[in-house]
Point group: C2
């Protein structure tokens, strides 16, 4: 185990830079923080480059010595931590972003410019809970490797492959050519989510304020809405995603 | 319209105190911030005590002059605002907390110590979306009049009555005596949410970390789980609430 005492240390300086998407993309790595999340990373065999612990860290995580481990004073840990009350452990992990879609699944979930990191993380957690192994995200969707997203995934980030689409329209055309129908969730339709089946469907959920973008709407095969008997016009996008995906689970039982 | 120039002004000092639950309880009032939320408050005939706008506020909200309106310099508005980029408008509104449960509904939603304000707000929004007019919250649930809750309700706070229960066990007994069955959502059961009906049911959702408390679990008539085919063991509580409540909507169609 390495002992680091200066904030000018190379590793500390490197870790400090991970707050920007640009640097995460450049390195193809991201930060995993907290006991539960580092445990998940180990359990799921994520490629861990470094683990950094604070001097006062004393939880029981076994086999930490198998990793490139560094210990830093509490003060330095606070500097590199992304949370207000740090648990004293973080790791640098390799991204597992893929470019190729697996076309064998019943359903493929597609995020069209979902902007809130908390929503993106919660949606990854939902996808993981129903056993999806991949998710397609438009390039304006919040970066899945943003520390806030990582936190709210509760470990799903290590199990669900992120497929970043540079051109969502083209990606959807590719799905169509592999026998998928594209389904857009939007309030402006008469068809309910309960009235369609979910076999070979690409389900597209949209931006918090504006919904699914018009050009994606234009090429969609089906539009469905969640019927809301009350007065609210919309639901939080992660809640809506949960309702639609669990309708698939219900039908599949 | 009153013009306020000093932060020592009585109204400004009063508004600054609304960050604590204690003061909100004492006054039986709360703060509504932002254009959309103040519009909702007006639309839903919330009892508005004061409206405060910043000097640079220039959105088109009609009939503001019908209210006790005050204008303050931008600097003072930032002091009383609860958000990082204020829209320059907030209102002091009267709470509409009720003590009496309406026993005529099919379902009653009960929150047992849901702690995150964002989750509580999102759940209120879901309740509103299916037309529920009331929600029962335990006294350890995040205060529904917390500014963060208000924001995430998207207006639902003006349509859904908050019933604060001092003794949740007793409240559930009361529901039972009015022919309700109590249904707890928990992963530790075999019965699925799809296998029960939702007529005369009190649906109880629990704390983010610990779920529904044991003493509530002990007196529940039914336990149901959301079947998760994937690896994640749990869902965000607001997502889970959405899935259960929309199963009720689906059955009711």
């Amino acid at each position: 185990m390495q002992r680091i005492t200066s904030k000018e240390n190379k590793l500390i300086k490197k870790i400090s830079k991970f707050n920007t998407k640009k640097y995460r993309d450049l390195q193809d790595e991201f930060i995993v923080e907290g006991i539960k999340m580092v445990k998940e990373a180990i359990l799921e065999n994520a490629k861990i480059k470094n683990i950094v612990i604070s001097e006062d860290f004393n939880s029981d995580i076994s086999n930490l010595e198998n990793y490139d481990l560094a210990m830093v004073p509490q003060k330095i840990f606070s500097l590199i931590s992304n949370v207000s009350t740090p648990q004293g452990i973080l790791a640098v992990a390799e991204k597992q972003t893929k470019n190729k879609i697996n076309f064998d699944d019943d359903i493929v979930l597609v995020l069209d410019d979902v902007q809130d990191p908390g929503n993106v993380g919660t949606i990854l957690r939902i996808a993981d809970s129903i056993g999806l192994k991949q998710i397609i995200v438009s390039n304006k969707t919040a970066d899945c490797y943003n520390p806030k997203v990582i936190r709210s995934t509760m470990g799903a980030i290590f199990r669900v492959q992120i497929i970043e689409s540079e051109d969502l329209k083209q990606t959807l055309e590719e799905l169509k050519s592999h026998d998928f129908k594209t389904v857009v969730t939007t309030p402006s339709t008469q068809k309910n989510i309960y009235d369609i089946n979910y076999i070979k469907k690409a389900i597209i959920v949209g931006n918090e304020a504006n919904g699914v973008s018009q050009d994606i709407m234009d090429i969609s095969d089906e539009k469905v809405k969640i019927p809301m008997p009350g007065k609210a016009e919309s639901l939080n996008v992660s809640v809506a995603t949960g309702i639609v995906l669990y309708e698939y689970v219900r039908q599949k039982r």
